[in-house]
Symmetry: C2
Subunit: 321 residues, 2 copies
Amino acid sequence: MTPAFGRVAVLGLGQIGGSLMHAIRDSGLDVVGYDVDRGGAAAASASGFPVTSTDAGAVHGADLVILAMPLPQVRAALTSLAPYLAPDALLTDVGTLKAPVLAAVRELLPRANFVGGHPLAGIEQSGWAAADPLLFRDAPWTLTIEPGTDLDAWLRLAELVCDLGAKPVPSTAAEQDAAVARVIGLPHVLAEALALTGLAGGPLGLSLAAGSYLSGSRVARTRPDLVATWCDGNPPLVTALDDVIARLVSARDELAAARSVLDLAEAGHTARINWEHRRFEPVELPAAFGELCAHGRDGGWITAVLRDADGVRLLGMRPSD
Amino acid sequence: MTPAFGRVAVLGLGQIGGSLMHAIRDSGLDVVGYDVDRGGAAAASASGFPVTSTDAGAVHGADLVILAMPLPQVRAALTSLAPYLAPDALLTDVGTLKAPVLAAVRELLPRANFVGGHPLAGIEQSGWAAADPLLFRDAPWTLTIEPGTDLDAWLRLAELVCDLGAKPVPSTAAEQDAAVARVIGLPHVLAEALALTGLAGGPLGLSLAAGSYLSGSRVARTRPDLVATWCDGNPPLVTALDDVIARLVSARDELAAARSVLDLAEAGHTARINWEHRRFEPVELPAAFGELCAHGRDGGWITAVLRDADGVRLLGMRPSD
């Protein structure tokens, strides 16, 4: 089988970029890295990875270019690499929000063959030192598909994502960002608010904070500027916050009236337990825009891209309820 | 050294009660259990622990009686055991909220020698099967002290708690409940609200929910009726909810105005990281009501109760900032 890509350039060598370098090399592809931060580049080089001193050097000759820098650096990176990107190269990224990157690419590199990506992986650490070749194992990985997306490019990228052990989830940028508002933005805002409010009662509370405070505020350990890039500029997060605030006000009013939080606790418990017990079934689906969008929207993902004489077949999993 | 207690009765054999049975036996004391639920009692008996078929049988001859049933069952338990409790026996409990138990004891057993207890331990599981002899290792363990508390009884219980590897924290019931509102009630209400709201956007979000949703909603796995007993009837939780709602509304308004959650993220991050990096120093303190209350209120705990010819000395740790 021909490898999906001849040479992969990873721009940005933090935790996600570093993990990509490891995982892509382990999958048998040529990979080269670059980071504007000399420290990250030096760490990658010391780990035995080819690293270039300019983005031009990394992008030149690459048929897959992965933007792995934080969102605020994406526009500058696109402008800088524009002259060196091969016309048939595939461009992707790994950021949490997909609409802002799509808009930047359409503005700055309107002819680029772009498929946005978002691996749902990463912990509260950051930097090359936190790189882990197994970081993507079993992780959902959004791959954006829009009217006009090059379907062949999308499939090649989905194949690579499967090779890294992850689960490609087809979605439009707008739909993925709305989902991310609820399952990433919202948990981070709540964790920050808890981290702060939980300890605002004085030293005794600091001694008594234990399990529920620890897990509830865990992701407040993340660098705050990164949290902001996952929350800011995503209007559905305002809706999600309105929703959670309404539930909290309702629970607060119950308690103030000497009633119970039991209704909320039962609903929350049921939601969490039902989610843990979801079941899935295998499905075969055509490589077509509408079917892929519907598959992701319905909670499905891709497990394999099969190519034979008759063309491409896609295998996936979908909720079986 | 004389053992602190000759015979310990544990009433209620769920996760906390079961862990107490293990840990107290391991510390070398005689322990006997009872549970209104025949299933729990049978499980304890099958594990080789002495179990009685009535609370009278367990309480008779015990000089320490530990109430380890959920809060809604405490009043019935107090009424039932009242005729059998020895006049000089020490009564304690392990519930999350201390004011309701103190009020029930004062009403139903006004002459009992009572010191409320709250081990900050436990996971989202429950039942005898979740019992763990190491559950209390390094756990803070509130021991209530009020005007009129028998100081000798308090010290004997603190000694036992130290023997179990835990950290006795002296506090009035009211002050501990106010702290618990912020570090237990609040995280649970937020986890329930997140569990529900995070998944309310449709199946795509269910696929993309990962690390931050998982840790943020972890304690929504707890039995909802238990969560309600940790939240209901604790007025300071209303204040804590008002506080967190105000912070969330502020973040929501920032986002709605196309600004950033960075201020909240930085404040939350700082609170969490500073909390992780707290430092402590050893201290010796007198066994006196005022000093003990102040020690707990200031974030300290007891590490040892030393008895010699000159009397009792208490060693502890306190924040050194």
